[in-house]
């Protein structure tokens, strides 16, 4: 398991540095080509977003100089930007990939964009063949971990922007926003942003009132809404379920008596006032009226902060889940490290068995089918018994992080080829030791056939 991660992100580098590392989508294939052609790099992938540029790689022999790639690709001199670059290897790299995909490493913890961005980067690398084996498994696992974290924790369940909190509150008051009308008082940018969010969630009609009528018309046109002359504000305000106010008025333009009048006209149907003006446009006393809910910019900010706090609490749980997943991944990877040796051992002993059988077949004469089966069972039984202990030892050694030594010993003992055969999808099980007492010939043959090394090799193909 030789994974490497190197890069810059919003935690290690300011935007003016990150932009020097950015790789546009059109340049990504070329960058991936250069990365995978580097000596030692077996697989590679590049994630380039506004908050991070990160290179994920796997090396066959543990020798992978990603710093060199960065220097050569971006044309940096040695030491330049060094203080902004982070690097992780092995399990730390695995953990980092899991954290990035799960949005635990994001600027806004729990945001959903990063998972999509990592998936896009993965798809590009996979299409180019830059990701094809163990890095593929790592990324696939990272996506599963991200999904698990999103479904089992509340990390992404609450809104963390002013506009989305406004929508959330409106939905808490009205339920669906479908068919609801919105009145923008003032034509500021924040008003426009909030209105866009509300429309995206189903709000139907937009009214715009502004002291400068032309600006009201211009903004209304953007939303296919209706501009209202400012002197008709109090007559038309009851038409709207949601009023967003952001005028530059020095005093409150909506007071309690206005609220009472609106409620009377609306037969007490609720109204939601969002006051994003400073000084405030809406008298806080309006909030005392039954059916009217007033939120100013500080109130919205307070909700945002509370949601961010909730996400942080959930992030703690998510981090524990990541730790657990890294541990599981490590176990799987360690077992996978010894699999080629197990397969070689099975193949080697099977070859020996076949060779010995061929050698003595002439002396055995003609055998009946029952006798053939008995010989097969006997020889396979012996081989399985010989293999059982080495395979069990290899598997337990893999978990104890002493696999390299044990693998070497086994390879030397059995004189196995040094090159590794292709890795099977799942590690083979050790053959069961033959039963202590000899069973009837037919039964024994049936038992041992299922655990034959030849069968394991067939699965591998």
């Amino acid at each position: 398991m030789n994974f490497f991660v190197l890069g810059v992100n919003h935690k290690t580098a300011p935007v003016e540095v990150r932009e020097r590392f950015a790789i546009s989508e059109s340049r990504l294939p070329e960058a991936l080509g250069k990365l995978t052609s580097m000596s030692g790099v077996e697989e590679g992938m590049i994630v380039s977003t506004c908050n991070r540029v990160e290179i994920f790689a796997r090396s066959a022999n543990g020798d992978c100089d990603l710093q060199k790639f960065v220097r050569e690709y971006f044309g940096f001199v040695a030491g330049e930007y060094e203080q902004y670059i982070f690097e992780h290897q092995q399990l730390e790299a695995v953990k980092h990939v899991f954290r990035v995909a799960s949005s635990l490493d994001s600027m806004v913890v729990g945001e959903s964009q990063i998972l999509g961005q990592v998936k896009e980067a993965y798809a590009t690398a996979r299409a180019l063949g830059a990701v094809n084996s163990q890095l593929d498994q790592l990324l696939t696992r990272a996506f599963a971990v991200a999904k698990k974290i999103r479904s089992e924790t509340a990390i992404a369940s609450s809104s963390v922007s002013i506009a989305s909190v406004a929508v959330e509150l409106a939905e808490k008051i009205f339920g669906s926003l479908a068919g609801k009308s919105v009145y923008l008082v003032g034509a500021g940018k924040m008003c426009e942003l909030a209105a866009r969010h509300l429309i995206a969630h189903g709000a139907r009609k937009i009214y715009v009132g502004n002291r400068t009528y032309d600006r009201a018309v211009a903004l209304a046109e953007k939303f296919e809404g209706e501009a209202i002359p400012f002197d008709r504000l109090y007559d038309t305000a009851p038409w709207a379920d949601i009023i967003i106010s952001s005028t530059g008025a020095p005093h409150a333009i909506f007071r309690k008596e206005h609220g009472e009048k609106f409620l009377h006209i609306r037969k007490n149907r609720p109204m939601f006032f969002i006051d994003i003006a400073v000084p405030r446009d809406i008298d806080p006393a309006l909030n005392d009226l039954d059916g009217i809910f007033v939120y100013n910019i500080d109130d919205l900010q307070q909700v945002v902060q509370s949601h961010i706090g909730d996400r942080r609490k959930e992030a703690g749980r998510a981090e524990l889940m990541v730790e657990e997943e890294v541990r599981k991944f490590e176990q799987r990877a360690q077992t996978a490290d010894v699999v080629p040796t197990i397969v070689s051992l099975q193949q080697h002993l099977e070859n020996l068995r076949q060779a010995e059988l061929d050698r003595v077949r002439g002396r055995l004469g003609t055998l009946s089918p029952e006798q053939e089966m008995a010989v097969e069972a006997l020889t396979r039984g012996i081989i399985n018994k010989i293999m059982h202990t080495p395979i069990t030892t290899l598997k337990s050694a893999a978990r104890d992080a002493e696999s390299t030594t044990v693998v070497d010993v086994v390879r030397k003992l059995f004189n196995l080829r040094s090159e590794r055969p292709a890795e099977p999808e799942t590690p083979p099980d050790p053959p069961a030791p033959p039963p202590p007492a000899p069973a009837p010939l037919q039964d024994q043959a049936a038992m041992t056939t299922s655990a034959s090394p030849a069968r394991a090799n067939q699965d591998q193909k």
Partner: protein, 271 residues
């Protein structure tokens, strides 16, 4: 056997009640996994208990106060299930489960030696009277629960507070509509049920029944029901005022139900 099933159902509803309390304390994520199947199973046992009662003792057995309470609890549990499926929230459980548990518990610990004399029943009229009123009471209770949910959520929104329990509630306007629809649906049942009861009572007791406390409280409850619906329809009374009024109407309904124990004329068959 019906009593055994009812007691099993009571225990299972108890699990739902504990979960509802834990939810109020911002806990209960784990208990929810047990509570939902427990309540579902409880409803099955509860239903079996009522069906067995009816098959052993006849439908008239439901006229005992204990079985009427048991039937009311099952209807409320069914309403809760409907709300849960519609709004994907268990928040109303905090108000609904104490009553479900209390009603089934009271019914489960009562002595159930049911003896019904045919002379005490005026054909199917009393059964009709009891069944329609049980449904009317259930709807009034639903309206009351909606009022409480409305008050809690409205208060949290106005104070800019958010608790995870309130966050899982349906929207304010949906709660308001739910309470109103419960009133609309329950009112005809309540009216027909009271009329049926009046016809039977007039027949049996003459004019004396009109001065019985149970009858007076029932009439007051019906009057409040009517005022509530009228003000809602004509003046758009909603929100906190409507919630307070629905709560008051429910309080009178509880008194009217409780008067069964006090009234000399209007009595369920002895429990």
């Amino acid at each position: 056997m019906p009593l055994l099933w009812l007691r099993v159902a009571t225990v299972l509803y108890g699990v739902g009640l504990i979960h509802a309390i834990l939810m109020l304390r911002q806990r209960g994520e784990r208990s929810g996994r047990i509570a939902a199947p427990a309540v579902g199973l409880g409803m099955v046992f509860h239903f079996v208990s009522l069906v067995e009662t009816a098959s052993f003792y006849g439908y008239a057995a439901l006229l005992t106060i204990r079985h009427a309470e048991s039937a009311l609890a099952l209807i409320i549990a069914l309403i809760f299930t409907g709300l849960y499926l519609r709004y994907k929230t268990a928040s109303p459980a905090a108000f609904i489960f104490p009553l479900i548990f209390m009603l089934t518990f009271a019914s489960a610990i009562a002595q159930h030696s049911v003896t019904i004399s045919s002379s005490s029943i005026f054909g199917g009229w009393i059964l009709f009277h009891v069944c329609t009123l049980i449904f009317g009471y259930a709807m009034l209770f639903l309206s009351f629960v909606s009022s409480l949910l409305y008050l809690v959520l409205s208060r949290q929104l106005k104070r800019k507070q958010t608790s995870s329990w309130a966050a899982r509630m349906p929207a304010l306007q949906e709660i308001d509509q739910l309470g109103y629809r419960a009133l609309l649906l329950g009112f005809p049942f309540m009216t027909i049920g009271l009329l049926a009861g009046s016809v039977v009572a007039e027949e049996r007791f003459g004019a004396a029944f009109a001065t019985d406390p149970k009858v007076l409280l029932s009439l007051l409850m019906w009057g409040l029901y009517l005022v509530l619906l009228y003000t809602r329809w004509s003046a758009g009374l909603r929100g906190r005022k409507a919630a307070y009024m629905a709560s008051f109407a429910f309080l009178i309904a509880v008194c009217a139900w409780g008067a069964n124990y006090l009234s000399k004329l209007h009595r369920f068959i002895a429990p």
